[in-house]
């Protein structure tokens, strides 16, 4: 008989019953709607045991590897321990190990967590100054390879958090880091698939992590990284990425600016980022795309890429949240 553990309680799954039915029958409150595996309202996560493949149909690869499944179509054939996905976990304390100015308005912050944090390059965390002030930042570092967590922080005029980072935060100071989330990350298993990475501003941070993860994983498909800025000083990893692209024949770096300026490097393209991407990558069929940064640009590109033939489930994005 199959057992289901939820909220530290064991439930017996009747023959042919779904996880959702089982939990609802026992008075548990689980959000749900279509009960046909379509609407994704009953998304849950298996923390122990493997759910049948059919319970993950239509989910993104990044959700699948984390054990997410749809409770309404999950008829378990082995014992499972499940939870609702966004249960708030405890924050982890971390120590600032390095603060570097990458450009006029971007700071690279490296912190060492007090215990190992399991994450994928490209996910984001909440950095907390104290209980009252927290902001989301994407992870530009690689788990397992980099000891520290790396963030690119864009300085916002009069920003509470960034003002603190710029004026007060010092190496050795403490802050806390809350659980990595987000599904904008590299997934193993499709090494030959072409990747399209497009980011504006510090939307580059998660893409930098994803790019490094792909390279480290031996990705063989082409990797096209577009970084958009208003003008060339905004392309804050320009030299490093230009060099990296020379070292890796399947990595293409496309620095783009809205407005050209004198003395800018000659590999920088001037124009509308969405148009440049569409011109360079006109048929993203079977590509995997990652879009990060300005929400309007992300939205526009998402549609363009889908209309140009990409599968909806192959387009990942984490629109940057301005606060």
């Amino acid at each position: 008989m199959t057992q289901l553990k939820y909220n530290d309680t064991l439930f017996t799954v009747s023959k042919g019953a779904s996880v959702l039915e089982t939990l609802l029958e026992h008075g548990q409150e689980i959000p749900n709607s279509c009960r046909a595996g379509a609407c994704h309202t009953c998304l849950m996560q298996a923390t122990n045991g493997k759910v049948p493949d059919t319970a993950q149909n239509g989910l993104k690869d990044s959700h699948k590897v984390k054990g997410f499944f749809l409770a309404c179509v999950c008829k378990p054939d082995e014992d499972l321990e499940v939870c609702l996905p966004d249960v708030e976990k405890l924050k982890i304390s971390a120590t600032v190990s390095q603060i570097t100015k990458l450009s006029e308005d971007v700071i690279e912050l490296k912190v060492k967590p007090s215990e190992p944090i399991d994450y994928y390059a490209g996910q984001f965390v909440t950095l907390w100054r104290d209980d009252a002030l927290g902001r989301n930042y994407s992870l530009a570092s690689l788990p397992h390879t980099d000891e520290d967590l790396t963030f690119h922080i864009r300085l916002i005029k009069d920003g509470q958090f960034t003002g603190w980072v710029l004026n007060e935060l010092k190496v050795g100071d403490k802050l806390s880091v809350q659980e990595p989330v987000g599904d904008c990350f590299y997934t193993q298993g499709n090494a030959e698939q072409n990747l399209l990475l497009v980011g504006t501003g510090t939307g580059l941070a998660p893409l930098f992590g994803i790019m490094n993860d792909a390279i480290r994983s031996g990705h063989t498909g082409d990797i096209h990284l577009f970084h958009g800025g208003l003008s060339s000083p905004g392309l804050y990893l320009h030299d490093m990425l230009t060099t990296l692209a020379k070292q890796h024949p399947n990595l293409y770096y496309h620095p783009c600016v809205l407005k050209a300026d004198e003395n800018m490097a000659d590999n920088i393209i001037e124009g509308d980022l969405c148009q440049i991407v569409s011109q360079k990558i006109d048929k993203p069929v079977n590509w995997k795309s990652y879009l990060c940064g300005d929400p309007e640009i992300v939205k526009k590109l998402r549609k363009k890429i889908f209309m140009a033939g990409s599968k909806m489930t192959d387009i990942y994005s984490d629109p940057f949240v301005y606060t």
Partner: protein
């Protein structure tokens, strides 16, 4: 005899159809405004539900859901001509996937069966 849903290929067929159908809907000036949602993923999930239903698949949609879900669109002018366009695009999607005319008609019938609820008539 296999059910319509089985003949069409079940959930795999829905997955194959949803991107094609959504692309058609977004390029069709007659209806695109009603689908140009900010959240494309949520929109695609809704369309998956819709396609599952008109493919004769398992669903728990009620007439009340249909009415509630489309009320704000009816207020924006959603009418029979838009439902006609959707049924047409649905047919074109299935044709592209190699579905026969008889089954396409059956899908159209299922889509038409919710017309009054959708339009809050």
């Amino acid at each position: 005899m296999a059910s319509l849903y089985e003949r069409l290929g079940g959930e795999a067929a829905v997955d194959a159809a949803v991107d094609i159908f959504y692309r058609k809907v977004l390029t069709d000036d007659r209806v695109s405004d009603y689908f140009d949602d900010v959240d494309m993923e949520a929109q695609a999930a809704k369309q998956k539900g819709f396609l599952t239903m008109v493919f004769g698949g398992p669903n728990n949609y009620t007439g009340k859901d249909m009415r509630e879900g489309h009320k704000h669109l009816v207020e924006r002018g959603l009418n029979d001509s838009h439902v006609d366009a959707i049924v047409e695009l649905l047919g074109a999607t299935l044709k592209e996937l190699g579905v026969g005319d008889a089954d396409i008609q059956e899908v159209a019938n299922l889509a038409n069966s919710v017309r009054d609820d959708v339009l809050n008539k």
